[in-house]
């Protein structure tokens, strides 16, 4: 009852126009960044992160929610119109989406993508509101040894989920943990890993790591591309998008089935809950499941069906709600964007976890409301408002755009830390992330390692201290055993069973 009241209060706070405007601004920023190939909503939040210092925390958080929801949806715009997914989570949407576009049915594909995103995003945020209070109760039961095992579980899952190369995922995670260990120790007031340089005593700021990994690395990646690769030329008159065609036909929705929308939203939500798994995995699994359960699997990959688009888009937007559950209740981000939202909370002096949810729910509830409103109202509204101009997004001058991003990133690193060292750290992290991306190392593992590493060390040392130096405490306390068994179960399903198959 208390929770329902808290959530309703969140909606009341959001109804204040001076706060709601931030959701709208965030939504359109997210829509732009999501739709631009190469730019993601994670980058958008990384760029506004330094500004949130001077903003009211509720406004900053609702803005992030607008960006997050819009970013996951709007990648479908360029996936459909020009066959270049705006974000990795929209790769599956391009398969049939662009075929429909070529057939002159682009508006239909965009309409279905928006509709599925709306359903997925809405279900995801409802589930978040329902599940978060329960997972909070669960979080309150976990003691120090259990907390270590939970973080250990999260770190293992982050590595295991990186199916392309477990070794690369592990290296990126370990490097993140190592970077986080530089500076003052967590429990004792002594500096460590300064390598003889006094300046390193201040350590590496989370802000510098975020700006480096997402903004600077992106600029370097884009700089490598030739002019032809980054400038897109389209004959706009050939692909006219009309507003009336955006409304999905009831016949098509019935063919996909309401149950399918709900199923894909659930897939997206629960994949979002897993640490390290984001929108791209959700849309991939939902798309595969849609083929498996479809009456007409032969139509997939052609312009004859929108089932694939609906599956992928419903799932990737439901990720938003799912990824926020572990971030808010345990401080473990579900994906890159929530890792940066976690950064917004931390730099504003809030520590995600049971404490935040139980004592400062009034700051979190408007976030839930913003996510819900972004999905249910802003997605359909934006398609009717700016849908016909979607194609123009791809025509923006990239040189100018990247110059703006680079400047905002560097100035952002400066204004948030006023430290030349942190600006250099942002650049160094950017170069490392650039090399990692070129070599297929997952940058998100690096970021999550950086965030979770100190937590793991803290709980490990506290746990060992409680057990008088004996590690047995992790194998005797029930909450710890639960997460260790869970880790083994995940290891079995993701590695052993897969290799047997």
């Amino acid at each position: 009852m208390e929770n329902i009241e808290g959530i309703l209060n969140g909606f009341v706070v959001l109804s204040n126009p001076s706060i709601f405007i931030y959701v709208i601004i965030g939504f359109f920023i997210g829509e732009f960044f999501g739709a631009m190939p190469g730019l993601t909503s994670a980058l958008a939040i990384a760029l506004i992160l330094p500004i949130t210092y001077s903003m009211d925390i509720v406004r900053a958080l609702v803005m992030c929610m607008g960006i997050y929801m819009a970013g996951l949806y709007s990648g479908s715009i360029t996936a459909i119109t020009i066959n270049i997914p705006g974000a990795p989570s929209n790769v599956m949407t391009a398969i049939e989406g662009n075929k429909l576009m070529q057939n002159g049915q682009g508006a239909k594909a965009l309409g279905h993508a928006a509709f599925a995103s709306m359903i997925g995003g809405t279900i995801g945020s409802i589930l978040l509101m329902l599940i978060a209070p329960f997972s909070l109760k669960l979080a309150l039961l976990i003691r120090t040894p259990g907390k270590f095992s939970l973080i250990f579980f999260a770190l293992v899952v982050i590595i295991l989920i990186n199916r392309k190369s477990l070794a690369k995922g592990a290296i990126a995670t370990f490097l993140g943990i190592m970077f986080a260990s530089i500076g003052i120790d967590l429990m004792k007031p002594v500096a460590r890993f300064t390598f003889g340089m006094d300046v390193l005593v201040e350590g590496i700021d989370l802000m510098a790591v975020i700006i480096g990994s997402f903004a600077i690395s992106e600029i370097l990646i884009q700089a490598e591309k030739s002019k032809e690769e980054i400038s897109i030329k389209i004959d706009e008159t050939k692909y006219k998008l009309k507003r009336k065609d955006f409304t999905p036909k009831w016949k098509d929705i019935k063919e996909i089935g309401i149950g399918a929308y709900i199923k894909n939203a659930l897939i997206g939500f629960f994949i979002g809950v897993l640490p390290g798994a984001g929108g791209s995995m959700a849309s991939f699994i939902a798309y595969s499941e849609a083929i498996r359960s479809s009456k007409h699997p032969e139509k997939f990959g052609t312009s004859e069906t929108v089932e694939g688009i609906a599956a992928a888009e419903a799932a990737n937007n439901a990720v938003c709600g799912g990824a926020l559950v572990p971030m808010l209740t345990f401080g473990i981000p579900g994906d890159a964007t929530t890792a940066i939202v976690l950064g917004v909370l931390i730099i504003n002096g809030l520590q995600p976890g049971p404490q935040l949810m139980s004592t400062q729910f009034h700051l979190v509830a408007p976030m839930f409301a913003a996510l819900f409103v972004s999905a249910l109202i802003l997605i359909p509204l934006s398609i009717y408002l700016i849908g016909p101009y979607f194609i123009k997004i791809a025509l923006i001058d990239r040189g100018i755009l990247y110059a703006i991003i680079a400047t905002v990133a560097i100035v952002g690193a400066y204004v948030s830390t006023f430290s030349i060292l942190q600006m250099f750290m942002a650049l160094i992290t950017g170069v490392i992330a650039y090399i990692f991306r070129k070599q297929d190392f997952p940058v998100v593992c690096f970021l999550l390692g950086f965030i979770l590493g100190p937590m793991a060390e803290d709980y490990l040392r506290r746990g060992l201290s409680l057990g008088h130096g004996s590690p047995m405490i992790f194998f005797t306390s029930p909450d710890s055993i639960f997460f260790l068994v869970l880790t083994a179960v995940f290891y079995y399903f993701l590695i052993i069973r897969k290799s047997i198959k």
Binding site: A167, L175, R398, G399, T407, G469
Partner: protein, 146 residues
């Protein structure tokens, strides 16, 4: 493979620094270097695994395209200069130069130099207004002006 060597060197430096802090277990309790040593050991194992694995697979000839890599290198160099100049030269002047250099790297022949300068000035002013006027965040200024 090169990346494995770089990671190996970094990990060794890290490990030496960790070991130099003394014993990882003091008076029956773990010390500040215990967890880093564990991570560093794991890093050795995984780096070695990746090295051996990539050694087996790496049959392709390394194709290092210098012209392709020159742009990211230039951006890194200009960013270093920008970071160094930002405080002493002030936001406005250093940013105009930085934006001009980035625009020139991305679209070298697309526009005339004058147009690029105008764009750089406009972008620098817009970012200045965003930080200083909308969000009231102070930026470094030359002589207290820009």
């Amino acid at each position: 493979m090169l990346i494995c060597v770089a990671l190996f060197i970094w990990n060794t430096i890290y490990m030496i620094e960790a070991i130099s802090m003394g014993s990882p277990i003091k008076k029956g309790q773990v010390d500040i270097n215990f967890f880093p040593i564990v991570i560093s050991c794991l890093m050795y194992v995984v780096t070695l695994y990746l090295f051996v694995h990539s050694f087996k697979q790496d049959k392709e000839i390394i194709n290092f395209n210098f012209t392709k890599k020159s742009k990211p290198v230039l951006i890194i160099v200009f960013t270093i200069i920008y970071i160094l100049l930002l405080k002493s030269l002030g936001y406005m002047l250093s940013s105009i130069l930085y934006i001009f250099s980035i625009v020139s790297i991305f679209s070298p022949k697309q526009r005339s130099v004058y147009i690029k300068i105008i764009y750089s000035v406009i972008i620098a002013i817009l970012i200045f207004l965003l930080y200083e006027k909308i969000f009231a965040i102070r930026l470094p200024k030359l002589g207290g002006m820009f």
